[in-house]
């Protein structure tokens, strides 16, 4: 899933300055699960914005909506078509894809991002999400025991750990994080596949995804 974090209230307030009628739009998919932009967060941010603005003598009129998937045009149109007519600006609490989907459909209205989209990851514990995939377009997880060195190694190294590994197999960059290559070693050891560690991996092909990425299904 896509992980995101809400921007600081001050930044959001500054983005919206000059607009009085605003539609705040959440998404029920990834950003709901990472507590950043679901229906609940839409309610909280709307209240905070109203309160903060009214303190400055500036009354905001806020409409709220939450789309099942902000990255799907049909769902966005269905949910927002009427509400958009009543506002001057849209504040999206979706990921960067959600923001752009809304902006593409309602071209005449300014759309602002309330979130910073951070990575593709998963929940690790209550309220903790970790990055797992870099969407590199050239998956090598089958060689590395199902642990991605591209994003879980701070340097994205493909041929083993750097010399900066801390005692106990922690990362040079952050002693709280595990060295991905130590994890890979231990996983492959458990599977009796340590021979995979010895393999030389060629430099990554950065054309695996030609940016900006676009895929057409063979059957389309």
């Amino acid at each position: 899933m896509i992980i995101a974090e809400r921007k600081p209230l001050e930044e959001i307030k500054n983005m919206l300055s000059g607009y009085k009628e605003i539609l705040v739009v959440g998404c029920r998919t990834c950003v709901t699960i990472c507590w950043a932009g679901g229906e609940k967060e839409v309610g909280i941010l709307s209240s905070q914005l109203k309160l903060a603005s009214s303190r400055e003598g500036n009354e905001l009129s806020i409409l709220e909506a939450t789309v099942e998937r902000q990255c799907e045009k049909e769902m966005v149109i269905e949910e927002l078509r009427d509400k958009v007519q009543e506002v001057e600006a849209i504040l999206s609490m979706g990921c960067g894809v959600g923001v752009q989907t809304i902006a593409e459909i309602f071209e005449e209205k300014p759309v602002f991002p309330a979130l910073n989209t951070t990575f593709i990851g998963m929940p690790e514990a209550e309220g903790v999400w970790v990055e797992k995939c870099g969407a590199c377009g050239d998956c090598m997880l089958y060689w590395t025991g199902g642990i991605c060195p591209v994003v879980r190694c701070a340097k994205g190294l493909l041929n083993g750990p750097c010399g900066g590994t801390r005692r106990g197999g922690k990362c040079e960059v952050d002693p709280e994080k595990d060295c991905a290559w130590v994890l890979i070693y231990r996983r492959l050891e458990k599977q009796g596949r340590l021979d995979l560690m010895e393999r030389y991996y060629e430099p990554k092909n950065y054309r695996a995804v030609k940016r900006p990425g676009r895929i057409e299904a063979a059957t389309a």
Partner: protein, 296 residues
Amino acid sequence: MAIPFREALKTKDFIVTAEAAPVKGANTEKMQEHIELLKDRVDALNVTDNQSSVMRYPSLGTCLLIKEHGGEPILQITCRDRNRLAIQADLLFAFSRGISNVLCLTGDSIDVGDHKEAKPVFDLDSVQLIHLVHTLNSGKDMAGNELDGGVDFCIGASATPSADPIEPQLVKFRKKLNSGVDFIQTQAVYDLEELKRCMEHAHKVDRKVKVLAGIVLLVGAKMAAFMNENVPGIFVPEYLIDELAQAPKGTGLSKGIEIAGRLITQIREEKICDGVHIMAIGREERVPEILEAAGL
């Protein structure tokens, strides 16, 4: 006039290199003083590449200064700041100007340096960088194009004898050796048993590779303890920290020089490895004293 480092690796019983640390700024006076002081006393001067991810005068520029002064430079190249095009271009330029030794490193993380918001490159890793230099040596670039005017680099790589856990590090070490390197330069090492294990490991893969033990000059007990806490891959044993702590006030640096001299002497006398690489980190002017303390 210095002999090529590759020759020194082949002919000398005990090889000594020293680190030349580029300055922050364009004033090269101090570096030139250090180069003059050391160029005839060591087999090569090894120049760091934006060491610790702190932006400085370039490794390539400092290597040129060493050449101009008649010394033998080793160009350190990290994968942190340049992609494969930039690295190859720099190597071509280096070779065209008489710089023919390269130490292939991954590079410290951007996060430990002074430009923490920069984009880390790491298009290649250190093993891939070794392969790249071999490719250039074969007369082609990484894309398979013929080079007009080839290169012939003497290739070095690093090792971390004190890593914990050591096994994943050894896998990487083997990959470097299997890629073909002329010399290995270790991270600072104070526990000579660890160095012996590193040597045994190296010789299992490549009997001919030359290994230089990294010697970082300790300037006091505080610095040693700080390195243990903060510099991954370096471990100063307790007994050395005690020795530094017991040195009379103001003599920490002299004690450090004595310790470095002693370590080098022991490495040489017991033939633990093929030489040393001295890193004086900001005290380059004291390197001659270390050499004297080691009887070199």
